[in-house]
């Protein structure tokens, strides 16, 4: 016991521990890419609007912050995304439960839901633009749409696959319909709901960027699009890096933990639709 504990503790303190070595290699990878990028800019020597270097991008970042453009853009994008995913997930779960509770309704509606799930949100945007014009409404509706369908579809599957034995058993033990819903159906459908949420949140983020490019006047997607339009390519790249970082935060802080709980508590869940 002690012989094992001491080297482990020593390794933790040592700079050359395997974990630290891994971190250093990872940091080195990021640094190497930035350095290689800057060198390639010097070697290739193209106009900065065509091939901006890390220094241009850094300057553009500072400028965008100084001029008060980037922070409100990030705020707008985050707000739209949160609102869209929240509404979409809620609607998806609610309708999924309602339909899923009836076998007949599930059989009737499942193929239709599946079909709407297959029309990517990108394809809806032209119609939304005609209905609601270029603006926030179009973006929110597109996000709600893209977040709702995976959740709806997976909730439906989750509710349909609750073993009938469980429902019958709790009913025969005197559980009311509401109790069955809250204590039997919802918990067993939860892993599917989480799976749908993860898929929906992922597609919704891509949908947000695209919708902002087409139908917005603010937001990080708009920054990427407008930067390229006005030949301020360094701003475009600031926008791209920003959405990359935003997605990493969303994925690491919100989606991965949800995935982890699903796997830990209910075993491996099939990801495919």
């Amino acid at each position: 016991m002690t012989t094992e504990a001491i080297p482990a503790a020593a390794a933790k303190r040592s700079f050359r521990s395997p974990k630290n070595a891994k971190r250093i290699r990872q940091l080195g990878g990021i640094l190497a890419v930035v350095v290689a990028w800057q060198i390639s800019v010097w070697v290739i020597d193209l106009p900065p609007y065509f091939y901006p270097g890390p220094s241009n991008v850094f300057d553009a970042f500072i400028e965008l912050v100084e001029r008060g453009i980037l922070p409100p853009y990030i705020g707008d994008s985050v707000g739209r995304y949160a609102l869209g995913v929240f509404c979409g997930t809620s609607i998806g779960v609610l309708i999924g439960l309602l339909i899923g509770l009836s076998r007949l309704m599930s059989a009737v509606l499942a193929p239709t839901i599946n079909f709407f799930y297959s029309i990517v949100e990108v394809a809806w945007i032209p119609l939304f633009v005609i209905w609601w014009g270029y603006g926030i409404k179009t973006i929110i509706v597109a996000l709600v749409y893209v977040a709702a369908f995976p959740v709806l579809y997976n909730t439906l599957i989750g509710v349909r696959t609750v073993p009938t034995v469980l429902i019958n058993a709790s009913k025969s033990l005197g559980a009311t319909n509401l109790q069955v819903l809250v204590n039997v159906i919802l918990p067993s459908a939860l892993p599917n709901i989480f799976t749908g949420f993860r898929i929906g949140a992922g597609f919704a983020f891509r949908g947000l960027i695209f919708a902002e490019m087409i139908a917005a006047q603010t937001g990080v997607g708009y920054l990427i699009f407008e930067g390229a339009n006005s030949q301020q390519t360094d701003r475009t790249i600031v926008g791209m890096i920003t959405i990359g970082l935003m997605w990493l935060v969303i994925d690491r802080a919100y989606l991965s933990p949800v995935e982890k709980i699903t796997i830990e508590r209910w075993g491996l869940v099939s990801d495919s639709k």
């Binding site: 193929p111 997607g221 926008g239």
Partner: protein, 264 residues
Amino acid sequence: MNESTTVLARPFFRRWMLGLIPLGVALAVWMVAPAVADIPPFMFPTMASVLKSTGKHLADGSLVFNVASSLGRLAIGFVIGNTIAIPLGIAIATNTKIADVFQPVLTFMQSIAGIAWVPLAIIWFGIGDGAVIFVIANTIFFSNIYNTVLGVRSIPPVLFKAARSHGASEKQILFDLVIPGALTQILVGMRTSMAFGWRALVGGEMLAGTSGIGYITIEAVQWYQTEIILRGMIIIGVLWLVMDRLIFRVLEDRTVQRWGMIQN
């Protein structure tokens, strides 16, 4: 409860028919609605106008041309992206240290959505095929190199040691251990990457295209031609369903069964 159990117990064919009910209702409502409610055609097209414009564009071949050019771009982007991603991913992943170096960069690049590259692609390649193919290839590349690395890294290190200690050559390890071991993850990844690639195709054509199903759909917005928009949406939905169900799901099921990596 009894009544509904019998519904499920019915043969497959009849259950399948049940799913067609909403389609029938929707079609009926669509046919009757213009007569009852006063919906302007620029908000929602009549069925007749959709059929008429579809017939017209089928006859002059433009619809087939646009769908074919979209699928062509998707195929080119898919092939380019995968031919670079899979060998490179395997090369990176077989060495732990190199994998560590590349991992954060790949994670980051994969998290930049495919569509976000469209404006940059327009600057580099101009409006047209080049930009759209670049965006698809880029999306597929980063999604799949990430999954290839994950797939190879998920092979238990013990297996490498065992193979080496039995005198397997590097070539044998590559073809008999690494590729089959990573294949399931690669195929699952391919399906996901296609979902993103498909969005990149439609979105890329809308922003940077000169032809294709996405291009004609967004072009119609300018003229309020909702019949073209609606038909475009239906085609986009059906194409994805066909691709996903007939190609990827079948491929995945076969390999998963064959290699037996996932237990359900």
